[in-house]
């Protein structure tokens, strides 16, 4: 069976799988970005308790395997009385993991904003919160976008792991088709191509566009 014939026959399942993968991507990306921002600010805080919470979080989620984290959320948390539906468990684990990596990106970008910007904002007497939101973060965002592009591609590929807790994503559907037809080359070949297309022809151009748009906004381009 050629790849084309394969796709012609199994496209509905591949399509729902892809749709679920895309949904997982957006949910975990939103969660990851929010966590990254909060953890970065906490790690830069002058309050020791906040700083240490962030450091612990980042250490745990960067230092251990995403798959093990996923199993913890899905299999271990119910033992403590937190039963989480598998789709939710999927994007929670991936998002929390990527948030830990993202926190370091955000923190690095904040610290690399020129000192003079802090001083100028202080000289017009802005509050610490406004200095961060209105002056530092917009500039930091421009600096960290290229690194986020990388991280989001990692995240997209990382979502494939949720198939291991039976979330019906693209990888899960490919495995199911393979299990019933033994068309391994076609099933996993199609999955490979779809992941590549999503990363290379949708995500990457979008990030490039965002980088350019932000650079223009800051007057750099």
């Amino acid at each position: 069976m050629t790849l084309l014939e394969f796709v012609a026959q199994y496209w509905p399942r591949l399509l729902t799988g892809t749709a679920n993968t895309v949904a997982l991507f957006f949910l975990s990306a939103a969660l990851g970005i929010a966590i990254a921002l909060v953890m970065a600010l906490m790690k830069l805080s002058s309050y020791r308790a906040l700083r240490w919470t962030a450091i612990s979080y980042i250490e745990i989620f960067r230092g251990t395997s995403l798959l093990v984290q996923l199993y913890w959320v899905f299999f271990v948390m119910p033992l403590f009385g937190f039963t989480i539906e598998k789709f939710t468990a999927g994007y929670l684990a991936v998002g929390m993991n990527i948030g830990a990596y993202g926190a370091e990106l955000v923190r690095g970008a904040i610290l690399s904003t020129p000192r003079g910007q802090w001083e100028a904002a202080l000289a017009i007497n802005m509050s610490p919160a406004k200095r961060m939101w209105r002056i530092i973060l917009p500039q930091a965002l421009v600096n960290m976008l290229p690194a986020w592009g990388n991280l989001l591609i990692e995240l997209l590929k990382g979502t494939a792991l949720v198939s291991l807790i039976s979330v019906a994503d693209l990888m899960f559907e490919a495995k199911q088709i393979n299990g019933s037809t033994f068309l391994s080359a076609q099933a996993f070949g199609t999955a490979l191509i779809i992941y590549y297309v999503l990363a290379r022809f949708i995500l990457t151009p979008f990030m490039r566009w965002a980088e350019r748009a932000m650079a223009r906004k800051i007057g750099k381009a």
């Binding site: 020129p114 003079g116 910007q117 001083e119 100028a120 904002a121 202080l122 000289a123 017009i124 007497n125 802005m126 509050s127 610490p128 406004k130 209105r134 002056i135 917009p138 500039q139 421009v142 906004k217 800051i218 007057g219 750099k220």
Partner: protein
Amino acid sequence: MQNLVGYPLELTGEDTPMVRFTNVRKSYGPLVVLDDLNLDVAEGEMVSIIGPSGSGKTTVLRMLMTLETINGGCIYVDGKPLTHMPKNDKLVLANTRYLRERRADIGMCFQHFNLFPHMTALQNCMEGPVQVLGLSKTEARERSEELLELVGMIDKKDQHPSRLSGGQQQRVAIARALAMRPKVMLFDEVTSALDPEVIGEVTNVIRALVSQHKLTMLMVTHQMGFARDISDRVCFFYGGKIEEQGPPADLFGNPQKERTQKFLSAVSEAI
């Protein structure tokens, strides 16, 4: 840590200076940058600070802008302590809230302009009035456009800093600081990073401010001619102390101390 004993909680009387440094000390670890500085600046006075690099000139302005903490003594602005606050009839180190309240009296321009790159010239000027003073956008725009007009930058009000020359950026930075209506303006080597041919456009703005406004100003500069022209008083700093001070005609024309003479002759040879 630094509770001050014997310092007034407030300066009162006719001759209260706009700025007073009382026994101010600043050190970085073992390195003493300013040693027991005493300096008064009267309301409306323009004081220039000159001296070799490392003599503590810029630190004076940075302490006054509260960008640096001090290690001893007290700074007063408009009669009220700046670095310290009154508590139970004593002066204790100022907390952030008190600092924010007092800092409103002071504006500063920097050597490298430090305009916000993601905002236009007009937005740079409006940022403080809107976000800090709580002015409406209309009021803030009116005030900012007036000041951009004053510094000759109204034509470029919608440009981002990256589109402006150094001299233009510095003029916008002056407008941005003035938009906060400070009582004291600080100019920290505002022409040092500029190409020679655009220095004039910035010094002309400062000249106009001196002649038309009753602002109190402190300026750190390497431009002796400019300092001589516009200052009411010039302070020569050496090794963290004021070595000599006086009206520009005296200090430049007839310096008394040997270090001042050496410095001034070294500077004039360089030109």
